[in-house]
Amino acid sequence: MCCMTDSDMPVIDSKTLRQKIKENSIRLVDVRREQEYQQGHITNAINLPLAKLLADDSAEAIQKIAQDLGISDETSVVVYDDTFGALSSRVVWALQYIGHKDAKLLDVTFSQWKSLGYEISTEVPEIESAIHSININPDIMATAEYLEKAKENKNVVIIDNRERLNYLEQHIPGAINIPYRTLASDDKILRTKEGMKNLLKNRGISEDAEIITYCGSVGTLSGLAYYAMKSVGLPNVKLYVHSFKEWKNLEKPIDKQENANYWDLSAE
């Protein structure tokens, strides 16, 4: 953990990004709805609504998306959204899954960027498509089958990143709950490293544990958790990308907090 370099960090800060925008040395991807993108985005960003990725997330489909966005194997990519980093995490993860090396999250959301008064534009940059290879990175992905076996292993920690009430009601047996809201700080999509380490330390999660994150359906909230773990240098993290929705459809075992009416404490 001592030797993480900046290039291993999954996030990039605004200052560095502004420099790179000036140098025109990155491909900036905006994961919001098209309409929002059109009303203004970070200068030079191109739009990739998440729905497009989710429509088909086979390696070939991700490859095509990357190519259409002008992302080649060597392109530096930075992704942002306005949903506390969850959607952009899912995009970065997908790129890394097909073997892309240099993809990062912007450490603030679009709203935060805007309130900092940084460059915004309505201009849509011209892009030429590029060629990207497929070089599957199996180590960052967990399937239901994999998770089911792995959870018997003592050194594996399964983390459910949904809200507390959803977790109490049903979760994968043995999973612990770290709601996605726990991962952010007041002004960044992720906690400080120290804050994150402290949370994990309190929870008794060791630095050499294998971690599998999951959430409700498509791996966005748990994608953010994946990068929260990565940000403190945990070496072995996997995203159960099809998450609890698939788990339930497959009729796998489910645990529940019994004998308490916790839902009635909610004012929703």
Binding site: R164, L199, W263
Partner: protein, 600 residues
């Protein structure tokens, strides 16, 4: 007319007192770790956890409830925003306003409690000594300082006592919990159902007007409840600290440390007899005074809060928003200060979402000329110093956030303890039942009925009285009933409870199955309407009945019992399966409880 532009928002007011101590969070985290490793004795850990404000949770060791202390209920916008954030990060996305002016976060992973404590320090708050055998949150009427009937504002004294007792070695290991309540006047406080209750008084002594209190000792609700006794005619403020210390010292020395079920001070008072206890207190106070080597004084800060109307958002709200009159009638109290109002925000059983907390913070900034809020003692929030001209605009804002529930100052705002939503000792879902009662009352517009205004409904999930059912006009506590082979949630109903100058505990009336609680309440109201006198209220009518002073057709508790008896007969399971299920549950009822921490 053009909308008046607001200059810029006034800077957030900051509290004068920082209740936190940062190191406590780290110490808590360390101790949890040692406990999990089996290196700390579970009993010791439990005491430690409670001392720091973390209760256990229903049927599990994994979660805690964190009780944030709010002395005198005084809470600031940025503190509410912090709690909103913490509820999303570590709890269920909602927080709970309690009957003792605390704010609680439920279903917190025990290992995360220290993170909450850490963040509370950032905003000057603490959960220290919110549970356990300590001096619990010092309460003060939410209307202290603005009440029309008060003699002086008790808030600075409540704050001073809270400050003196917090972390004070003399109250770290009391036989049992210890509660102080200050009030503004007889009507707006609960001084006779706590260990020490205080009402401001002024007495002329040698031609000089002197501040002081009427002090009540030895009251309290619980498995067995008692009404407090007045210590003496008048206790000057100079004697406030000495009297408090004397009482605590006696309790510490003589309180029952063995029999955990009867160790609140009220049992000591009851066993010893009031007169003996009273003498003991007066004598002990003389000793405390005489033997002090250093003069210990309360640090009472009576500097006036700055009152500055933050804005006029708009002097002309285009039209009167729908429902404004009903809301104003049932949620707004005029202050003793001309032109200003105290606005009550009603919640369902005290629950509020994170986003609503943020709205409340914003609304305080925009509308309260004092810049903070006061928690009430009916699971509600009071925003004071709202100008007459701003009420309509404020109401629209509250509506937008779902915070304009009517009936806060009426019988509609039922109180319900945690019950089976989180409490280990609960037998029924009292929390949800209170919500159901409130919804029904509002649906029937009973909040607008002046005859019901001074009545209350309060519900506990077991006999321990956290929902304060015994001081309600109509109160309930949960239990289990059985019909043939099936169990159903069955509440014990008491009527005629009061917490004003005529304080008394309610009279047990009947056992009422959960799904009949609302019909029974409505039936009682119907009986009242049939038999009331011209200028009557439900509370007065019931008061006459339980005291044998009513001469109409319904003149005794027995008569009421007879009238409702047909509602109490259990149906066959096949005919009404829901009868055998509690609210919030779709399976047949059974009782299940865990280890309680009441006596811890």
């Amino acid at each position: 007319m053009a909308q008046q532009l607001r200059p810029s928002k006034p800077a957030d007011k900051k509290p004068k007192i920082d209740w936190s101590r940062r190191q406590e969070a780290e110490h808590f985290a360390e101790t949890v770790k040692l406990f999990r490793q089996g290196k700390v004795d579970p009993d010791m850990f439990r005491r430690f956890r409670l001392q720091n404000g973390a209760y256990g949770t229903r049927m599990t060791d994994d979660y805690a409830m964190v009780r944030i202390k709010v002395p005198a209920g005084q809470v600031y916008p940025y503190q509410l925003e912090k709690i909103a954030q913490l509820s999303e990060m570590y709890s269920i996305g909602s927080a709970h306003f309690s009957t003792r002016e605390n704010i609680q976060l439920h279903w917190v992973v025990l290992e995360d409690v220290s993170e909450i404590m850490q963040s509370l320090s950032d905003v000057g708050m603490t959960s220290r000594e919110a549970c356990g055998n300590t001096v619990r949150n010092v309460m003060c009427s939410p209307l202290s300082g603005v009440c029309k009937d008060e003699i002086f504002d008790a808030t600075p004294y409540a704050m001073a006592i809270a400050k003196f007792m917090l972390r004070n070695p003399i109250c770290q290991g009391l036989p049992r919990k210890f509660k102080f309540n200050f009030t503004c006047c007889e009507k707006h406080g609960m001084v006779r159902i706590v260990d020490v209750g205080l009402i401001p008084q002024i007495q002329e002594i040698d031609g000089e007007k002197r501040k002081g209190f009427k002090i009540f000792l030895g009251g309290g609700l619980g498995n067995r409840s008692f009404i407090g006794h007045q210590l003496e005619d008048f206790t000057p403020v100079e004697d406030l600290l000495y009297t408090s210390m004397a009482v605590i010292r006696i309790f510490d020395r003589l309180g029952d440390r063995k029999n955990l079920v009867r160790n609140r001070m009220r049992y000591l008072v009851n066993d010893m007899g009031w007169e003996k206890f009273q003498n003991l207190v007066l004598k002990e106070r003389a000793i405390v005074k005489a033997t002090q080597s250093v003069i210990v004084k309360l640090n009472v800060d009576e500097t006036k809060n700055e009152i500055r109307r933050p804005i006029s958002v708009s002097n002309d709200v285009a039209s009167v928003p729908d429902g404004f009159a009903r809301w104003q009638k049932t949620n707004v109290e005029k202050q003793s200060q001309d032109g200003f109002n105290s606005v009550f925000i009603g919640l369902e059983s005290g629950d509020i979402t994170a986003n609503q907390l943020r709205s409340v913070a914003e609304i305080i900034r925009d509308y309260s000329a004092e810049g903070f809020a006061r928690n009430g003692f009916s699971q509600n929030i009071v925003i004071r110093y709202v100008h007459d001209d701003d009420l309509k605009s404020m109401y629209s804002k509250l509506l937008e956030s779902g915070l304009a529930k009517t009936g806060s100052l009426t019988m509609a705002s039922a109180v319900g303890c945690s019950g089976t939503t989180s409490c280990n000792l609960a037998l029924t879902n009292s929390h949800r039942l209170a919500k159901e009662v409130q919804r029904k009352f509002l649906e029937l517009k009973l909040d607008e009925d002046d005859d019901l205004k001074d009545s209350t409904v309060k519900i506990s999930g077991c006999p321990n009285s956290c929902g304060q059912h015994e001081i309600a006009t109509i109160g309930f506590y949960g239990g289990g009933g059985r019909h043939e082979d099936n169990m159903f949630p069955n509440y014990t109903m008491s009527i005629g409870g009061r917490f004003d100058q005529g304080s008394m505990l309610g009279h047990h009336t009947a056992r009422v199955p959960v799904k009949r609680v609302i019909p029974v309440i409505l039936k009682i109201i119907e009986l009242f309407k049939e038999n009331k006198q011209s200028d009557d209220t439900l509370a007065k009518w019931i008061d006459r009945i339980v005291n044998g002073n009513e001469s109409s057709k319904i003149s005794s508790v027995e008569d009421i019992k007879k009238e409702i008896s047909s509602l109490l007969i259990p149906p066959k399971v096949e005919d009404e399966p829901e009868f055998y299920m509690d609210y919030g549950s779709d399976t047949n009822y059974h009782t299940i409880t865990g280890k309680g921490e009441c006596a811890a």
